[in-house]
Each structure stands twice: as structure tokens, then as C-alpha cells.
């Protein structure tokens, strides 16, 4: 099997998306399987194929920062991208790749994991598609069928700007934004963070290319884009820049945000007789990992609300169990919350389950 390597260095931000789409759309039976490596010259935000722009992105913030937004044809959620990541794409004939999505991820992720390990970072593949170092995620991946090709997209993380990422996302409250930022800080990592300084880019790229060849059992052949591919990419540059493409109605509901596999930040509201209860939580494998409660209800003495939040960490989102725990908290502390029963807090919390990202 021939595999062409497109080692493209830095490219205009639009082309960091349109090149791999263009190679996929231009693929014919005679085209080689291709691996592309590149980084965007300038930062931008990318949304998933089925997402609705206005629901996912804080467009005012992006406009103020001069951050463009692009819709990709790969799934998943919105993400902030910049030169801190080295993008890698497999653009392969479908018949040359495993049929099952999980097996595809294994094939794709292995050389990335080997590369991190070569630099002393104890990375591992956590199925389905996460790469982690301990409890922290170091990069995400996605798969799409585009034209005749199967495309697998991922990156090597030199660095990641959690602050800008959390600002660029549209969230229902500032509390939610804080929790997204904190969760990204707590549960994401990068080569810079692991090593104390970014490793030389060229060395990482060379190691990745060597690991790709070893993993696939082939010699990668350095190559260039064909004239037909360039023409397709030019057409996609226009399409990806068009308002119609960007603003198309999606519908994949993501009322929460996935930080990594099994870890989400979610918000829910419940109207109790005594006022609105808003709960913002980080859920770990569906259980409460961290929680903030706010709203316009009375809770006296107020500092006890923080105690309640902490006492519910580790709880399952089960209405009866939560209500029992909160009832006990009421009894032990003697807190006063007129018109807000323990069951009201439990009802708000159970709604988190429904609001988790698909």
C-alpha cells in the first residue's frame, strides 16, 4: 500500500480545514492514501458538522477577538485551534481501513501515543477516541466519510489555550463558563505542560512520521497536492467562507460540553415555589464531580450552600438518593430555604442527566 505524506508546515487557517476535505473530495480509485500534517498560521474556532453556530459559539466574543469560525465536515463539538496543535489527517480509501470506527481510532491513535511516549510523556489511548496522560486528555480525534475517502482527524498538542476556548463557547451562564474553563485546566494537558517547555517542533514531527510508518507498516512517500486537489481546495475555501455554509441549521443538541470521554460540564434549571434553582455541574461517568448551585431562592445561612455543593460530590444522579442526602443535610445543618424542598434540588440535579451532550 502506498501512502503519500503531505507535510505542509503552516497553512492559512481556512486551508487547515479545506486541504484535507479537498484531498478527500478529489479522491479517485487511482489516488494514493494520504496523511497530511499541518498547523494553522492563525487561530480560529471550528464547529462540528451538525452543530448550529449561534447555539454553540459566542459570536460577539469571536468578533471582538477577530477569531474566524469554520464549520468542518467532521463531527463532535466546537473547538478553538491555533499553532499550538499539529494537525494530522488520514485520508484513506475506505477499503484500506478497518470497518469499525473503534478499530479505526486504534490505528490512528497509536502513532500519536508512541510519539508522546518517545518524548517521555506517559500517554495512552482511552477508547473510544481519547488520548490521555493519567486523568488528563491530550488531544481529540474524529472520523468522517467525505467523498470516496474515510478521513480521521486529530492532533499533537504542543499547547492549548483553555482561556480562549472557554470564552469562545456560548454557555448559559458565567458560572458554566467558569466551570468549563476550570475543567479544561484540570482535565486537559499538553506537551508543554507535561515537559515544562515545548519540545522542538521539527523533532516531534519527525518522530510522528517515523511512528506513522512503523504503525502502518509502510514507508511514507513525501508528496505534494495535485492540480485537481488544489482546484477542489480553492472551491472549498469559497464554500467554507460562505455565510450559507456556516449558518446552516444543524440540530445536534449539546446543552452540555464534553471535556473528554466520560467528563462533561452541564447545566440545568428547576423552578421551585421558592425560586429558580440553577445547577452547574461537572459530571464524571455520570456522577457529580463538582457542583455549583445558584438561583434566586433564599438559603440561610448562605455559606451553607457551598457546604451542600461539596456534600453532593460523588453522588449518582438518582432522584431518591439525592433527595435523601439533601434531606439529611437540611436536618443536620438546620438550613432555612423557604419554598425550596430537598426534592426541588434533587429535581434540578436529575435534569443534568438529560442535558448531557449526545
Amino acid at each position: 500500500m502506498r501512502v503519500r505524506l503531505l507535510d505542509l508546515g503552516s497553512v492559512p487557517y481556512v486551508e487547515s480545514q479545506t486541504i484535507y476535505h479537498g484531498v478527500a473530495y478529489a479522491m479517485t480509485d487511482a489516488s494514493p492514501n494520504t496523511i497530511s500534517l499541518m498547523s494553522p498560521e492563525s487561530p480560529y474556532v471550528s464547529i462540528g458538522f451538525h452543530q448550529q453556530l449561534e447555539k454553540e459559539i459566542d459570536l460577539d466574543y469571536c468578533a471582538k477577538r477577530g477569531l474566524p469560525v469554520l464549520r468542518r465536515e467532521v463531527g463532535g463539538g466546537a473547538v478553538y485551534l491555533d499553532r499550538g496543535q499539529l494537525f494530522m489527517h488520514f485520508i484513506f480509501h475506505r477499503e484500506d481501513l478497518p470497518r469499525k470506527v473503534e478499530d479505526l481510532y486504534k490505528l490512528f491513535i497509536r502513532p500519536i501515543v508512541d510519539t508522546y511516549r518517545g518524548f517521555g510523556i506517559a500517554a495512552e489511548h482511552r477508547p473510544l477516541n481519547d488520548i490521555v496522560v493519567g486523568s488528563r486528555k491530550i488531544g481529540g480525534t474524529g472520523i468522517a466519510s467525505i467523498g470516496q475517502a474515510m478521513v480521521v482527524a486529530g492532533s499533537v498538542m504542543f499547547d492549548f489555550d483553555a482561556e480562549t476556548m472557554s470564552q469562545a463557547l456560548k454557555v448559559s451562564s458565567e458560572k458554566m463558563r467558569d466551570k468549563v474553563y476550570q475543567s479544561l485546566q484540570d482535565y486537559m494537558t499538553t506537551m508543554t505542560r507535561e515537559l515544562g517547555a515545548p519540545p522542538p517542533r521539527d523533532e516531534v514531527r519527525a518522530a510522528l512520521v517515523a511512528n506513522l510508518g512503523k504503525s502502518l507498516g509502510v514507508e511514507l512517500e513525501p508528496g505534494a497536492l495535485t492540480a485537481e486537489e488544489r482546484k477542489t481546495i480553492r472551491g472549498l475555501n469559497r464554500r467554507f467562507a460562505s455565510s450559507r455554509w456556516l449558518h446552516q441549521k444543524g440540530g445536534l443538541s449539546r446543552r452540555g460540553i464534553t471535556i473528554k470521554g466520560g467528563l462533561t460540564v452541564v447545566e440545568a434549571e428547576h423552578k421551585a415555589p421558592g425560586g429558580l434553582i440553577r445547577v452547574t455541574a461537572r459530571l464524571k461517568d455520570g456522577d457529580i464531580d463538582d457542583l455549583s448551585i445558584s438561583g434566586d431562592f433564599t438559603f440561610h445561612p448562605a455559606p451553607l450552600l457551598g457546604h451542600l455543593e461539596r456534600s453532593l460530590r460523588g453522588q449518582r444522579l438518582d432522584a431518591q438518593g439525592l433527595a435523601a442526602a439533601i434531606r439529611e443535610f437540611y436536618a443536620v445543618t438546620g438550613v432555612q430555604a423557604p419554598g425550596v424542598a430537598p426534592e426541588d434540588f434533587a429535581n434540578a440535579l436529575v435534569l443534568l442527566r438529560e442535558n448531557q451532550p449526545a
Binding site: 478497518p98 470497518r99 470506527v101 473503534e102 481510532y105 480525534t141 466519510s145
Partner: protein, 154 residues
């Protein structure tokens, strides 16, 4: 019927061999969905988007797209024609495409424009079982599909 391991494909349907999209000929047109093998390979459906009713589609071109199990892909028409019906049930509950492939999990009905020619290269009747058996064998032996005991498919 054709059954190979856990994959059941009714042999009265017509199958696009590459896309694993099935078509059932009915009075109003060709009802289309994803077969058990295709659904297993894709993973759990999270979202389905379909072209609007009245839109013309070409055989082998997308009539919609799907997102499942960290994968996005087109849904390609088994025949050319006009989309005359949507399955709102599967749009509301995409997992039906995984759990009820041939009944509630269908996607669209296409009023065909060139039916006889379009059906010619689709697997049907006695051709379904050997095709499916070869498909499963090829993917398992090629390491493209996990052994049956490790698969988690409806």
C-alpha cells in the same frame, strides 16, 4: 432471509453493497434505511439530518447525513428519485437506526425515477447471503471487524 453471525438482512430488500443502505419497494416508492452490518460499523447514532421532502436525489449521492459514535458520514440513496417521505420518528430518536433497522429505523421514501436500472446492481434475494457472508469474512479476516464475541451490536 440472510443471517451471518449476528447480522440479519431480510432478503426481500435491495442492498447497496458499499453503503449498506437497504431499499424496500412499496406502493409510494422505495423506503431506505441502514442495514444491521452498516449500523454496527457506524456505532450508536446521535443525530440524523435528511434532505427536505420534494428534493431530488441521485443514486449513490447523499439524501442526508448522520453522526454516530464519533463518526460523521453521508447517507447515500440506493435509487434516484424524489424524496416523498421522512421518518420523523428516527429524526427524534436516532438510536432507532441501531435497534430497529428494518421497521421503525428507516430514513426516507424515494419516489424512483429510474427504478429498474437502479436496482440492477443492488444485492437482492439469493444474492444477499453470499454477499453478506463474504463481507463479514473479509472484514473479520482483514482485521477490519472485531471477532463476534467482542462486538457490541444490536
Amino acid at each position: 432471509m440472510a443471517q451471518v453471525k449476528e447480522f440479519f438482512l431480510p432478503d426481500d430488500l435491495y442492498y447497496d453493497r458499499k453503503e449498506h443502505i437497504w431499499g424496500r419497494i412499496e406502493a409510494d416508492g422505495v423506503r431506505a434505511g441502514l442495514d444491521a452490518f452498516g449500523a454496527c460499523a457506524a456505532g450508536t447514532f446521535a443525530y440524523i439530518k435528511l434532505l427536505p421532502k420534494g428534493r431530488q436525489v441521485q443514486k449513490g449521492r447523499p439524501f442526508g447525513s448522520m453522526e454516530a459514535g464519533k463518526y460523521v458520514g453521508p447517507l447515500k440513496a440506493p435509487v434516484s428519485g424524489t424524496i416523498v417521505e421522512h421518518n420523523q420518528e428516527v429524526l427524534d430518536n436516532p438510536r432507532l437506526a441501531n435497534t430497529d433497522h428494518y421497521d421503525h429505523g428507516w430514513f426516507v421514501v424515494i419516489a424512483p425515477s429510474n427504478l429498474d436500472a437502479d436496482l440492477a446492481d443492488l444485492a437482492h434475494g439469493g444474492g444477499v447471503l453470499p454477499w453478506l457472508a463474504a463481507e463479514v469474512k473479509e472484514y473479520e479476516e482483514g482485521g477490519k471487524l472485531k471477532p463476534q464475541e467482542e462486538r457490541e451490536c444490536a
